[in-house]
């Protein structure tokens, strides 16, 4: 299982609010801001749960950079899957 996770080259990123999905596709990285400051999540990141501060999420895919302005939320990272649950 761990080897399978390491061999993956992209994260599966989803950014959603209760009523809308803003982003749902593979990405190379996702960057945001929490209480301690800016952070990046790349492939192989340790399991991670953080509350997000109001910021601009930056999601880098192989072809583009997507920026999403948020008011806050929660990021859950596990086994190269990053889910952002935006605040209502």
């Amino acid at each position: 299982m761990a080897d399978a996770v390491k061999s993956v080259k992209t994260l599966k990123v989803k950014v959603a609010s209760p009523y809308m999905i803003y982003f749902d596709q593979p990405a190379i990285s996702i960057s945001g801001v929490n209480k301690t400051g800016p952070f990046d999540v790349l492939v192989g990141h340790h399991n991670f749960i953080t509350l997000l501060e109001p910021c601009e999420l930056l999601i880098k895919t192989e072809t583009e950079e997507k920026r999403i302005r948020i008011n806050g939320g929660l990021l859950h990272v596990k086994e190269n899957i990053a889910n952002v649950f935006l605040d209502i």
């Binding site: 209760p18 009523y19 929490n34 509350l51 929660l74 889910n83």
Partner: protein, 282 residues
């Protein structure tokens, strides 16, 4: 007997009523479809959040997103969701009457949502702690002021109108904590702890944030369910009004034809009488 122009004017007025009720019926039907989509989408979001929360909370009871230092009143909070205006039949009255059958001012505080319900409570001489307008829009409903109130009480019960089908609406009550637990699906994943996860800032704060978010979703869902029932009730009222207006249109058309025939008959009679008086024979 009415004049032809009077009947014709009534027909025009009735035609406008048919047109208006059809428009309201169409609008209500469209809103129902939109809200149903929203409810489905937020249910999925809720379940994903719950699957994290159930693993983070480590067996703790749901605590309404409160911090341990927050003061809690030894009272229950009743939240009643009614319509903002008319056009929604008698369902609000039923809801208020039903809620009042449980209400004891010494044990419960009351928050009313919707102008229609607030007026009915005022007429019944019942005091309420807060009144909120029912949001006119169906998206991005801000329930934060409600959550602030909910956190102050040991428990909260919501009374609302529930959508069963387009033609059937019901009144319901639900204890908020139970609503949240019932809405969740059990997860079989491993427990999330500081041993296998990095938390920022801490598991307690994360769990508390998740509780607040799930409470917001549940309250929003209840408001949406209530709005769904109100739109359905309005749809039904408009459908009945439209049918009644169409019946009246048929009656007016009949009356119009009858009056026109009567006038023609009278004219013919006058012509014949005139001829007879003039000395002619038939």
């Amino acid at each position: 007997m009415k004049q032809l122009n009077e009947i014709s004017a009534e027909q025009d007025a009735m035609q406008s009523v048919v047109g208006l009720t059809d428009v309201f019926e169409g609008l209500a039907s469209m809103r129902i479809a939109q809200i149903k989509d929203q409810v489905l989408s937020s249910e999925q979001f809720f379940n994903e959040l719950w699957s994290i929360y159930s693993l983070v909370r480590l067996g703790k009871q749901f605590s309404y997103g409160r911090q341990e230092s927050d003061a809690v009143q030894d009272k229950e909070l009743f939240i009643t969701i009614t319509a903002e205006g008319g056009f929604s039949g008698d369902i609000d009255q039923k809801l208020i009457d039903w809620m009042l059958s449980f209400y004891n001012p010494d044990k419960q505080d009351l928050i009313i949502i919707g102008h229609h319900g607030a007026i009915q409570l005022a007429q019944a001489g019942v005091d309420f702690k807060r009144y909120f307008k029912l949001p006119l829009h169906d998206n991005n409903i801000n329930v934060e002021p409600l959550i602030d109130q909910v956190k102050q009480y040991k428990s909260t019960t919501v009374f609302y109108q529930a959508y069963v089908t387009l033609m059937v609406q019901d009144i319901k009550k639900i204890e908020l904590r139970k609503a949240i637990v019932q809405a969740s699906h059990k997860s079989s994943d491993n427990v999330i702890s500081e041993e296998n996860y990095i938390f920022e800032p801490s598991p307690q704060v994360v769990a508390s944030h998740l509780e607040s978010t799930m409470m917001q979703i549940t309250l929003t869902q209840t408001i949406l369910d209530s709005k769904l029932a109100q739109y359905a009730s309005r749809f039904r009222s408009m459908r009945t009004a439209s049918e009644r207006a169409n019946e009246m249109m048929r009656d007016l058309r009949l009356e119009y034809s009858r009056t026109r025939r009567h006038i023609a008959d009278e004219r013919l009679k006058e012509v014949i009488n005139g001829l007879v008086k003039a000395g002619g024979t038939l």
